[in-house]
């Protein structure tokens, strides 16, 4: 009696294992396309970067001499890298809050049920369709010291013209303005989508209770929008850390390294100075920074977010 029961149990276990293997195999098959893509474009470059950050390299970027953590030591002591970090932090502080607030404001405007609001929605989200290079060139003209429309406006109302891109104090502000303008389209679109997901009945109910527009905004709209806001803030933050295109076209990191944001600094280190080792070390540093900021944000920000 006992033996038959044992045999049965064993065979069940065997069948169980077989099925488990089949399930595992099909799971891997489903994952395979993503695994291949991620490996080629993400995991391999990341691994290679990490590897290079421990070496001195030749001009072709081949690893030559293993130096351990010396690259990291070097960049953390280098004054230009300190400057670059400072510029990046300032840049993030300039662009992220301002960009999100402006997009939220525009999204609130465009969410009203007015005739012709579709035109405004298109206009507000249109910067999404313009490439970084094209918009940077447009802004290059706007910022032009003598021909630029900005300075012409200022002088026409009696102000003194500003060296937008040429003065170390103004250059970062100018790049920030360009970046905010470029990012508004994306943030606007996501926030508008979030706003339109909020049930109209909530506002009707609040209206009957006698809540004013700003009371509704504070008690209903913002809390209901919090997941979307959280997403937009996270994405803009990461984007701001990774800004490159507009810096390259507008200022090339100058004047006197005031707009030398980290990614631009990495680019210069690698492809102008051919220091692939220290460039890789900077990349790893940036990766860790973004990782920490994002983790912190999820940890502290998410508590205040309401998910439905």
């Amino acid at each position: 009696m006992k033996s038959t029961a044992e045999i049965q149990e064993k065979s069940i276990n065997k069948i169980d294992l077989k099925w488990r293997f089949i399930h595992w195999r099909s799971a891997i098959l489903y994952l395979l396309p993503s695994i291949i893509l991620f490996s080629v474009f993400l995991f391999y470059p990341l691994g290679k970067t990490l590897y290079l950050s421990f070496f001195l390299t030749d001009q072709q970027g081949n690893a030559n001499v293993f130096v351990g953590l010396e690259n990291f030591q070097y960049i953390l002591q280098a004054e230009s890298f300190h400057k670059s970090i400072k510029a990046t932090i300032l840049f993030v502080l300039y662009t992220v809050p301002t960009g999100v607030i402006i997009s939220l404001f525009l999204a609130l405007l465009a969410n009203e049920k007015i005739r012709g609001v579709g035109i405004f929605r298109t206009i507000y989200s249109s910067t999404m369709g313009i490439s970084v290079a094209a918009s940077a060139v447009v802004w290059l003209f706007i910022f032009h010291p003598s021909m630029g429309i900005l300075n012409q406006l200022i002088t026409s109302i009696g102000g003194t013209s500003i060296d937008w891109l040429l003065h170390p104090d103004w250059a970062l502000v100018s790049v920030s303005i360009t970046t905010i303008w470029m990012n508004i389209g994306f943030s606007f679109l996501i926030l508008l989508g979030g706003l339109q997901n909020i049930d109209d009945h909530l506002y009707e109910s609040a209206k009957i209770s006698g809540a004013s527009y700003f009371y509704q905004l504070r008690r209903i709209t913002i809390p209901m929008l919090s997941p979307t806001l959280f997403f937009v803030i996270t994405v803009s933050l990461i984007n701001a850390f990774q800004t490159f295109g507009q810096v390259d076209i507008l200022t090339q990191g100058g004047p006197s390294e005031s707009t030398n944001l980290i990614v631009y600094s990495i680019y210069r280190e690698a492809f102008v100075n051919y220091q692939f080792g220290t460039a890789s070390a900077q990349s790893i540093f940036l990766f860790i920074c973004i990782l920490i900021v994002t983790i912190l944000q999820f940890k502290f920000g998410e508590r205040k977010v309401h998910y439905q």
Binding site: D199, H201, L202, E204, S205, A206, K207, I208, S209, G210, A211, Y215, R219, I220, P223, M224, S226, H306, Q308
Partner: protein, 377 residues
Amino acid sequence: MYSVELKQVDKSYDKEQLVVKDVSVTIEPGEFFVLVGPSGCGKSTLLRMIAGLEDITSGSLLIDGKKADHLPPSKRQLSMVFQNYALYPHMTVEDNITFGLDVKKMRKKEKKEKCYEIAAMLGLTDYLKRKPRHLSGGQRQRVALARAIITNSPICLMDEPLSNLDAKLRAHMRSEIRELQRKLGITLIYVTHDQVEAMTMGDRIMVLNEGVVQQVGKPIDVYNTPANPFVAKFIGSPPMNLTTGLVDKNSSKITISKEISIPVDRLVVNDTNSDQVLVGIRPENIKIQEEPSSLDLSFAVTIDHVEILGTETLLKFKWNDDSVWYAKWYGQWDIHVGQTVRLTLDPDSLCIYDGQTEKLLQGPKNIQHQHIREGII
């Protein structure tokens, strides 16, 4: 306790089609008034116009005798319960209930006291700290009710508040809402597509179809003497049986089928514009024929479907040009599908409608209200 008065109210969204046409009604203070009709008949639109969430295209609205057409919703002294409850999902039950008081900047202590009082009344005390998503449908419904009544508004509007609940809970909430309304003495305007809710809850009901008022009255009067075939079909479950009949003005008789002709009052026959009428009878007034009487209104039918509901038995059959009829008898009847039975119409329970204008020509004569003499137990 405020009255609500509608005067020739029209509503149109596209300036061409009227979704509400010429509605005039006075809702008395403290009344439970039900707007009932099929979906798309304009009942919710009417309610939203009273609430101020929709503009009135023409006509006027008076609340407590004062013109209120252009008042914002918050100034109309009313509260509203929405079909999907419209609870704020990010707030706790307590915050949801007190939202209306927050707006009015009531003191914190007073607010809390009031919230607890209302919560106790509706059995929500244990759930005050929870979010709406952690509540069942019935509990959410109660939160919506609590939120509506905490503001002490003299008028409360409800837009199909029970349609998201299961049948059992709905029956329970029906009586609960009715009792609450009686206790608070508020004027309650209630929208529903469910004629059972209308019948059981309303002091008076208004039947709407395609934006036009069909009939206003006490539920039982609407049930007994429906003003037109639409109301006859809409109110009552199963609906009133209707069939066409031909009028013979000389002999003042209405012929329904080969077998049946009903003698009617000469005055009734003279009122008709056409020689066609619609004859209706409630399912419970179709009886099984037991003995031949002087006036023979009997006919033989084959039963298509039988439902025994415990207290009553429902029979479905086709008769006279294949119109589907129902008969409802008290008790449990052992009749099977396919059986032929001989039925008879109660001549005093017939409703006769004009074939063209669809106006009621003659209502039933034997409406019996049964009374219980007080003191007898």
